[in-house]
């Protein structure tokens, strides 16, 4: 088991390295550097750009050097926690991102828990009541959840929330709590504001998880060992929970890592609509403004979250599945 963890860990480190290379390259795809963009903007504003200023920026980020040199310099800083400078905000990237990353992690994890808590029981119900009215209703609702763009769901839910509860659903806190110190009331307020984002971000994930759980469980229910457990005299509920569900969940754990990308994707888009202070809005803005260090840091951090999530899912799978543990 320890050997397995060790191997997976080394593999993860190499993946992280490659991810940072690819991420850096993608963000550097646009022609021209920020300096061009910066000069252009200052000129548009009619401000005079001093040569020294441009030179200082160019020099600091080695923008005149070849790409691999820039990458090396950036990576060297990155591993020490220096992510570079945001041109747009004229601040260190590290001052801008941490809070947003923490909120993204909170929303992603809460969404993940929400999807599983909702989807697994529905999947079990649908599989054990195949082709009944309940199964059809869940299937239909799930299909609509899969088919609606998440930002549209967010908009509709916001309208509903505002109409029926008169509650402002944007942001993470009510105005009264924004600058208030931490208290139970503030936490309750935060949780209340998290409901809509979690439901919206989790909608399509929940729907696809229900489909997968239903499909897997139907497959497993046809397996001989389920019949064998019945033949041993186990009650139907025990057969389903102890033998069928346990086996049907395994492939889903493998997909746990794969469901993270869509959750983070969804969270970025939904955050813009709901104006949540997560990575999403600032990342998209940075992309549009060619604020490359800010954008690349966000992109790589999102990938890091995924890679670590995959690693943890692998460990979880090894922990629950003896076939992998004893490999």
């Amino acid at each position: 088991m320890l050997g397995y963890i060790g191997r997976r860990f080394l593999y993860m480190i190499s993946t992280l390295f490659l991810v940072s290379v690819v991420g850096f390259l993608i963000i550097n795809l646009p022609t021209g550097t920020y300096v061009d963009f910066y000069i252009q903007r200052l000129q548009n504003e009619g401000t005079h750009t001093s040569l020294e200023q441009i030179e200082a920026i160019t020099k600091r980020f080695a923008l005149d050097k070849p790409l691999y040199w820039q990458y090396g310099k950036w990576l060297f800083g990155f591993v020490r926690g220096d992510f570079g400078l945001s041109f747009e905000f004229n601040k260190e990237v590290k001052e801008l991102i941490w809070e947003r990353i923490v909120y993204t992690v909170i929303i992603s994890l809460a969404t993940l828990i929400f999807t599983w808590v909702v989807a697994i029981p529905i999947g079990i119900y649908s599989a054990t009541h195949q082709y009944t009215l309940g199964d059809h209703i869940f299937t239909l609702v799930g299909l609509i959840g899969l088919s609606a763009p998440s930002f549209l769901l967010a908009l509709v839910l916001m309208v509903i929330a505002q109409r029926s509860f008169g509650q402002s659903v944007g942001g993470l806190y009510s105005p009264a709590f924004v600058d208030a110190p931490w208290s139970w009331a503030k936490l309750a307020d935060l949780l209340k504001h998290l409901v809509v984002p979690i439901v919206v971000v989790g909608a399509s994930g929940t729907a696809s998880l229900v489909r997968m759980m239903r499909g897997n469980l139907l497959d497993i229910l046809n397996m001989q060992y389920v019949q064998a457990a019945r033949a041993r005299g186990l009650s139907e509920s025990l057969v389903i929970l102890k033998h069928a569900v346990r086996n049907a969940i395994h492939p889903l754990i493998m997909l746990l890592g794969m469901s993270l990308p869509s959750i983070i994707s969804g969270a970025t888009v939904v955050s813009i609509v709901l104006s949540l202070p997560t990575t999403g809005p600032m990342y998209f803005r940075a992309l549009q403004q060619q604020d490359m260090y800010l954008a690349v840091t966000f992109l790589v951090f999102m990938a890091i979250m995924l890679v670590i999530g995959n690693f943890l899912a692998d460990l979880l799978l090894a922990w629950v599945d003896p076939r992998i543990r004893y490999e």
Partner: protein, 383 residues
């Protein structure tokens, strides 16, 4: 039940004589079986019909909408939908549907113009009327529209946007982009995915390892942020059309990995089949084995995976355009249209601006139905 025999190549069997009795599953070709199972699937058929309608509406958008999609009207900004009616305010039934005229009043409190239906003015809807000129299918000059009303009446069935443009015309036109960008993207995905997947599975070794690693790295990025990063690299000065193709390339760049994985696993399985060994034993070349014995067998799976990836592409285009990173005005797509509906106040006042979203949902739902139907049909030995 699955066919136990691995020594007969099902794709070659599929070329067996046709026209067997409908009850005899054993004598139908693979494609006939698929067709039969697909036709029997009610949801899949409903999805097919919905798609045919949507594509026709998009293709003949100028004919189905009474106005040009870029024509602005300052008098009718943010006009609510004018529903066609049969019964007027006095309870009289009209055999020809009609719309009311519009009365515009200034709301002195909110300082905005309010549009109200005026039941005293009745404009019957005419069919196949002359209106704005357009080119049918981009070729044939025409000015006939499916319906319309006499001037000075207006016929904005889905209402207008904040520039006074007909939402129906814009939505149908937006469908041209939103419904086709996924198809172009999928075509590229199929080419990339099956070529790389086959190479990876057939040759194995270093090719396979590199390919798998590459796929894994790409899959390590969340899709929409990755798409957005690529889209941000498209030069802003590019024309609408160039941008459209760039976007479909970007969609498939992120999407081909899933298909490549599937094709690879299929090819790996076929490589072990007896009919492949048999082909190799009689001296068939790699190309022949891949083209004659592997791809035809994988074709049904490729089609299914491709169909099921179209909805994701439509949603991605919509989201990216909504965020301002995809299609740019004056080109319209459903995502571009939804940009008008970014905040709650606007939606509460003008809920019809969300109608393009309904089209997105219907299109995605229909593709999902069809994809599911194809997937079920592609497994002809499952009873």
């Amino acid at each position: 039940m699955r066919a136990k025999s691995t020594s007969a190549n099902p794709a070659i069997q599929a070329a067996a004589p046709e026209g067997a009795a409908a009850t005899d599953v054993g004598r139908l070709s693979l494609w006939q079986l698929m067709k039969r199972r697909f036709l029997r699937n009610r949801l899949a058929m409903a999805g097919t019909v919905m798609l045919v309608i949507l594509y026709l509406l998009a293709l003949l958008a100028d004919f189905f909408a009474p106005y040009h999609y870029l024509a602005k009207s300052q008098d009718y900004v943010l006009l609510p939908p004018q529903w066609p009616r049969f019964v007027d305010a006095e309870g009289k039934f009209h055999s020809r549907p009609f719309v009311y005229g519009i009365e515009t009043v200034l709301d002195t409190y909110n300082l905005r113009y309010m549009h109200k239906a005026d039941p005293t003015q009745i404009y019957p809807i005419g069919f196949f009327v002359r209106g704005a000129e357009y080119k049918l299918l981009g070729l044939i000059p025409a000015d006939i529209h499916l319906f319309g009303v006499q001037e000075p009446g207006t016929c904005y069935i889905l209402g207008t946007d904040r520039l006074g443009q007909d939402l129906l015309a814009r939505t149908l036109h937006g469908g041209r982009v939103s419904l086709t960008i996924g198809l172009v993207g999928v075509a590229l995905t199929i080419m990339l995915g099956s070529a790389l997947g086959t190479a990876s599975g057939y040759y194995g070794g270093v090719t396979d390892t590199l390919m798998q690693r590459g796929i894994e790295i790409l899959a390590s990025f969340p899709q929409i942020p990755l798409w957005a990063a690529f889209a941000a690299a498209v030069p802003p000065e590019w024309s609408s059309l160039k941008r459209y193709f760039a976007l479909s390339v970007i969609l498939s760049l992120v999407n081909w990995t899933g298909l490549a994985r599937q094709v690879r696993s299929k090819v790996l399985a076929y490589r072990e089949m007896d009919y492949t060994s048999a082909a190799r034993a009689v001296g068939a070349s790699d190309w022949r084995i891949i083209l004659i014995h592997m791809l035809p067998n994988a074709l049904s799976h490729i089609i299914v995976v491709a169909t099921l990836s179209i909805p994701g592409m439509i949603l991605a285009e919509t989201s990216l355009s909504f965020l301002g990173l995809g299609i740019q005005p004056p080109m319209v797509s459903w995502g571009v249209l939804l940009q008008d509906a970014t905040n709650v106040t606007v939606i509460v006042l003008n809920p019809w601006l969300l109608i393009p979203g309904l089209f997105v949902i219907v299109a995605v739902l229909a593709f999902n139905f069809v994809g599911d139907g194809l997937r079920d049909a592609a497994d002809p030995f499952a009873i």
